[in-house]
């Protein structure tokens, strides 16, 4: 290996190299958030699309973080919404009661990047509210992470389904406990209630309302970038290899000296932290009332479905599935024409047939047939005046079952998107082992 090769152990970059090397991913995250906020979001024709873009981001954070437990470490957690609820309520309480303590009202005190109302914003680029909001999200993540330690602890005694049930029970307990909390205090009377009890006024079953909204596309995609970066680096680190070894064979990993409990709890803690941040972002979306009913096990199942559909352990798979499954139910509200899809599909099928790739051509052929059938069904339904949106969730459930039967390993398996195509290997030096 050449000493100038960055993968060589003799490689010593200069100071500038260190700064650039360390800062490049962070700059990349900020760039991603800026591009999404300033370039992609304004191009969307309606405010509703921006909402979908925001939902996609939050779901990516949730899916990628749950993937750390279920995908990397092979543990079976189905209570992810519980962490989200803890983070969300903590963040909402910090922002709401913090705003009252700092400014005396629960209004918006943020800058340009936090403004999510309609119309033009005449204000500073950066406000005190931004700091409060970011701090609240981080506190929410930390609180969720601390809880994550305790939810992760039973994993040493319980395997598989039993652990799944415990995490499910944890999520439900969180939801029910939040439902019992008293109503949100109005700004005038918040100071009359003594401090520790004050922050437990979380709105109960009616939901947390009247808090200011700070979550914009910018903050959401900043969190997306950070989560994906951490997940990626984590998986390719010593910790990540320990996680994967536990997934592949727990007993063998223990025999090789991997501290199983430590790494399992660590996976839960990391996942809970990012789920808490996602909860904080979710809580401060425009017009949101944070309701415990939305954060029950149905939400946990949604996230679980995303990572299984994307391929357990695949980060890009989780991202794709999170985006796809956020868009799909929205598309099914008013199913669009699918004819245009035939334009690429049919030539590919024909070309594959021409080159005698029968096995590949069959899949594309089935896809083309499915598109034709879908289109016929859609036209029939429209002609008979059937409300297709009524059937939205029915089709969603059916497609879920079908995917599980037809492609049980998920979209990408444990691979990443770019590993689907064979690439030329350079020299043989430092080829990353595909996991």
């Amino acid at each position: 290996m050449h000493p100038r090769d960055p993968r060589s152990s003799q490689f010593r970059p200069g100071l500038g190299g260190v700064v650039l090397h360390g800062a490049a991913p962070l700059l990349g995250i900020v760039a991603l958030a800026l591009v999404m906020d300033l370039l992609v979001a304004p191009l969307l024709p309606e405010a509703w699309y921006a909402k979908v873009l925001a939902d996609i981001g939050i779901n990516i954070v949730l899916a990628v973080s749950l993937n750390m437990v279920n995908g990397f470490t092979g543990q079976f957690s189905i209570g992810h919404a519980g962490f989200m609820a803890i983070g969300g309520y903590t963040a909402a309480a910090v922002v709401y009661y913090g705003s009252i303590a700092l400014w005396g009202d629960a209004g918006f005190h943020g800058g340009y990047f936090s403004y999510c109302g309609l119309g033009h914003f005449n204000g500073p680029w950066f406000g005190g509210g931004d700091l409060l909001f970011v701090a609240a999200c981080l506190i929410g993540g930390l609180v969720a992470a601390v809880v994550g330690v305790f939810v992760g602890l039973p994993s040493i005694r319980l395997r598989g389904d039993y652990l799944a049930i415990v995490t499910l029970g944890f999520g439900e307990i969180v939801r029910i406990l939040i439902q019992q909390t008293p109503g949100v205090l109005p700004p005038e009377s918040a100071a009359t209630v003594p401090a520790p009890g004050r922050y437990l006024h979380l709105g109960g079953a009616l939901g947390f309302t009247n808090h200011p909204f700070y979550t914009t596309i910018f903050w959401i995609w900043l969190a997306v970038g950070a989560t994906v970066l951490v997940a990626w680096r984590l998986r390719n680190s010593t910790y990540g290899r320990a996680f994967l070894s536990i997934r592949e064979d727990e007993i063998a990993a223990a025999a090789m000296g991997v501290p199983i409990l430590l790494y399992k709890v660590m996976a839960f803690t990391f996942a809970a932290f990012f789920a808490g941040i996602a909860g904080g972002l979710f809580a401060h979306q425009l017009g949101s009332t944070l309701n415990p009913a939305d954060l029950g096990f149905a939400k946990s199942f949604d996230i679980l479905i995303m990572i299984v559909l994307g391929g357990l352990g695949s980060i890009s798979g989780a991202i794709l599935a999170a985006a796809g499954l956020t868009i799909l139910p929205e598309l099914l509200r008013n199913p669009p024409h699918v004819w245009p899809l035939l334009v690429p599909v049919v030539p590919i099928a024909l070309a594959l047939l021409l080159y005698r790739r029968r096995r590949l051509a069959r899949g594309w052929g089935i896809l083309a047939g499915g598109i034709v059938l879908l289109e016929i069904a859609r036209d029939l339904a429209v002609a008979h005046g059937v409300q297709l949106s009524d059937y939205r969730m029915v089709f969603y459930a059916l497609s879920l079952i079908l995917v599980m039967i037809l492609r049980p390993e998920g979209l990408l398996g444990t691979r990443e998107l770019w590993e689907l195509w064979p690439r030329k290997r350079k020299g043989g030096a430092g080829v990353r082992a595909s996991s």
């Binding site: 799944a164 049930i165 439900e172 299984v308 599980m404």
Partner: protein, 310 residues
């Protein structure tokens, strides 16, 4: 004393439902080793079918006079239809996934559950309006006996007899018949059972049929006891299924007698806790006891200790 006994009777009522539903969970888990999340929805379909049949026979409304056999008729149809539905879910959704990883089967079960809930909401099926279930038993609310100041009504006795009868019938089926022997063989080791000539697929199918019929009976009891049918995707249905599942785990999942004991125990705990500690936290007790049991004795109260093989 009166109050105590009243709570106890209420616990028994609820325990009948939990026990019957928990049996389906525990049987499926015993045979296929996966949590059939769609089982709670079969209960919902069972309860709704009772109402739909009763409405079709014009037994609903204030002026209706249902005949003596009405309840039995409704129950029978509901149980048959649910047995068919349970068999269909196994045949179409779970059988192709028999060799797939557990998480996939779990997701498929969630998919089936979502499908039943949302299909049930379609206008030509059950719709989205809550409905009132008529009382199909004549003089259901007349007290048969008054014990310690608590009125035990005709309905209570009939329901208790039905639940206990079904549980005894199931126990005989599992421990005294050839089919039961085959079920236990498949639960113990399906590959070895297949080698000795047990038709595994048929046995699994029968497990779903029996479990779903029992779930329909649970749904019938729920409908006649509480008279209020929420819309199919309502949280209360899902919670009912989850609690019954918790009962199965507490009793020792895979263990049939354990499911009955677990159902009773959980219902009593919920009623007594709701009466004497705090009614708002009823659901918390259920999940707290679940976590406690799993941490202390993961096999459940009556389950065997599970040992991990290398």
């Amino acid at each position: 004393m009166n109050d105590l006994f009243q709570t106890f009777v209420a616990g028994l009522r609820l325990g009948c439902i939990y026990g019957l539903v928990a049996l389906g969970y525990t049987m499926v888990y015993g045979v296929l080793r996966f949590i059939n999340f769609a089982h709670g929805d079969i209960v919902m379909v069972g309860a709704w079918l009772c109402f739909i049949v009763a409405r079709a026979m014009h037994w609903t409304g204030f002026t209706a006079h249902p005949p003596l056999y009405a309840a039995a008729f409704v129950l029978l149809i509901s149980m048959t239809a649910c047995a068919l539905l349970g068999w269909l879910t196994e045949r179409l959704a779970y059988r192709p996934l028999r060799r797939a990883p557990r998480l996939n089967v779990l997701i498929a079960a969630i998919g089936v559950s979502l499908f039943i809930e949302n299909a049930g909401q379609l206008r030509f099926l059950f719709g989205t309006e809550p409905q009132a279930m008529p009382s199909l038993l004549p003089r259901a609310q007349t007290a048969l006996i008054t014990l310690l100041g608590v009125r035990i009504t005709v309905l209570d006795v009939v329901i208790g007899l039905l639940a206990v009868g079904l549980m005894i019938a199931l126990d005989i089926l599992v421990f005294r018949t050839r089919l039961g022997l085959a079920m236990r063989a498949v639960a113990f080791d399906d590959a070895a059972a297949a080698l000795t000539g047990v038709p595994v697929n048929r046995v699994v199918g029968m497990t779903f049929i029996i479990g779903s019929a029992l779930a329909a009976a649970g749904g019938f009891i729920f409908a006649t006891e509480y008279h209020n049918l929420q819309q199919p995707a309502e949280m209360s249905w899902i919670l009912l299924g989850l609690k019954a599942f918790v009962a199965a785990v507490v009793g020792g999942i895979g263990n049939i007698r354990g499911a009955m004991v677990g159902g009773l125990l959980l219902a009593l705990l919920e009623q007594f806790g709701g009466r004497y500690v705090s009614n708002d936290l009823r659901d918390v007790y259920v999940f707290a006891i679940l976590i406690l049991v799993l941490l202390v004795k993961p096999g459940g109260i009556m389950g065997a200790q599970v040992t991990e093989k290398v």
